[in-house]
Subunit: 334 residues, 2 copies
């Protein structure tokens, strides 16, 4: 019989098909192709002037906006939001709007066009995480910006419009709905239990082991109990912290290994699937929160279609997280 | 400059790209193919025994589960939920689950394999709406079922696994997250204003006309102010009503024309796009609500990918609803 499971943080119910569950080989595979750059690529060496001037770069040699970098952060050439101007909040009858003030940046993870995050060295992945941290610390100085989204679309089917390895940052003057749900839900739990719900989940998942993918001294990787998607995977730091950008060097170093290993497990089990990941973190202008706990949510794009889930916020997941966890554990690698 | 707009019902913010907005021809077109049935189709005449026995049928001739029907409702052969058994609600440590009690039915809209809802006669579309109504009225007698989702996935890219024209019904023992958001949001507005927010939206959109697609005595078709997707389209009844299943004959008759005309406008403007629609209605066990107003949300599937929206509940819409409304008005047809 199918099971209805409730996400303990947001209260969202999900149908988990336990009877006829879908295994990795049941999904239509469209491995993300990785090629040497054939067409013109604005993120490759020599094309630095095709992007807006860099806001951050790690480089081996060369000057600003020249070749020689190992990682480069530039404003998005076609930003979803602009940094200049005033909000000019206003009504339009009963509606509310404001100018789209914010930042939209691209983290070019490596000069190597044909690399993937999963294949990079731990050091390279760590650099990406450092760049995330540096950009958040810089942007949060702008008190208009309340929330920062750090995310990656990998593969065309997951929304990547350019092949060259990159992730993105969007800084917003508002709190996205889903972030607010997590903040509200975890606060409610804290008021009731006086404990962080994520800390409780870590303890329970570590003990039970059924949804555990891997674990280090500092991080736990689990398939969430009420997973919306097959092979949805969360990486949660064991030490309570609401703000990703407060991670220290040993933390980022370990996270690099954990993230890379998790992506490699997904690559191996699902044949290099397209995926999205999003870092869920506390609003940047808020002080440290006892009830909220930053984490990373990875969503492989396996089912070809969204279906009615878009319109309803109601999900049917054909792969129980206990089974996907087992597949990922058996993939080895870490 | 891009605009941030707030959906007045749910409070969700959306980025509307006003600068470089995408027109219909900018989307990669993959018209939904319609063919005579080539492979075996369980929904065609003569294959009635390949589905579970029908729970409703409109027929010209023939006996139950035989050819001769004009519309047929059958339980889904691979249901996401089962109607038998007890909830057996229980904890799993800090998690909550219950048995997946509910119903999952398929409305086979016509025996004609190569038809589409947009191409059907008004009478045929009206029959589909009557079938929706009848099934809801029947299922709500089961007091375990709290919410009913009526929806259609049209085209493979929108999640339809079978080509034969059909829509679906899922009856749930829980209220989906997005339905709850609308119920809560509209209640808050009602407490403040003592008016239904949907009634206010109808009045404003009808007067301003900028986001209006079409209008009859009984229905208004609009592109919502904070549309999440290009060409997202809502059909709202003008007479306040929280429960779709209380629609009477003149109402359903007019809705058939309005729905068909709207789908034909989308077909013409966007070259037969894949789409999803969902009927948003009040929980079936609740009495009539002054604050909630049933409606239909149509979401053409134009952008190939979901991107990070999945993980964040935050949407970037490259087509302002004022522009999509104009394209749909100019399509004529009604």
């Amino acid at each position: 019989m199918p099971e209805l499971r409730k996400d303990p943080i947001t209260g969202r119910w999900v149908i988990i098909a336990t009877d006829r569950s879908r295994r990795p080989s049941d999904f239509s595979r469209e491995p993300v192709a990785v090629s040497a750059s054939s067409r013109f690529c604005p993120f490759c060496y020599g094309n630095e002037e095709k992007t807006p001037p860099e806001v951050l770069a790690y480089r081996v040699n060369g000057g600003a906006n020249q070749a020689g970098w190992s990682l480069r952060v530039v404003p998005n050439k076609f930003p979803a939001l602009g940094i200049e101007g005033d909000f000019d909040r206003q009504a339009e009858g009963l509606f509310d709007k404001m100018h789209g003030i914010g930042a939209h940046e691209v983290i070019i993870e490596t000069p190597d066009h044909s690399m993937t995050l999963a294949q990079m060295s731990d050091k390279q992945v760590e650099d990406v995480l450092w760049a995330f941290r540096e950009r958040v610390l810089d942007l949060k100085k702008d008190h208009r910006l309340r929330y920062i989204l750090l995310f990656k679309n990998h593969g065309e089917a997951a929304g990547a419009s350019l092949e060259h390895p990159h992730s993105q940052l969007i800084a917003l003057p508002v709190i996205p709905k889903r972030a607010k749900e997590e903040l509200d839900g975890s606060k409610l739990y804290y008021e009731f239990k006086e404990r962080c719900i994520y800390c409780d989940i870590i303890r329970q998942e570590s003990q039970s082991g059924t949804r555990l993918v891997t674990e280090t001294d500092r991080f736990i990787v689990v398939e969430p109990y009420a997973a919306r998607f097959p092979f949805e995977t969360w990486i949660i730091p064991k030490r309570h912290s609401s703000h990703f950008e407060e991670s220290d060097a040993p933390q980022l170093q370990n996270l690099a290994w954990v993230l890379r290993t998790t992506l490699r497990k997904l690559d191996k089990t699902l044949e290099r699937p397209p995926y999205n990941f999003v870092i869920h973190m506390a609003p940047v202008q808020e002080p440290a929160m006892s009830h909220y706990h930053w984490h990373i949510e990875i969503m492989p794009k396996l089912t070809k279609v969204a279906g009615f889930e878009w319109g309803t916020g109601f999900y049917i997941n054909p792969t129980p997280p206990e089974e996907s966890a087992q597949f990922l554990r058996e993939a080895g690698l870490g």
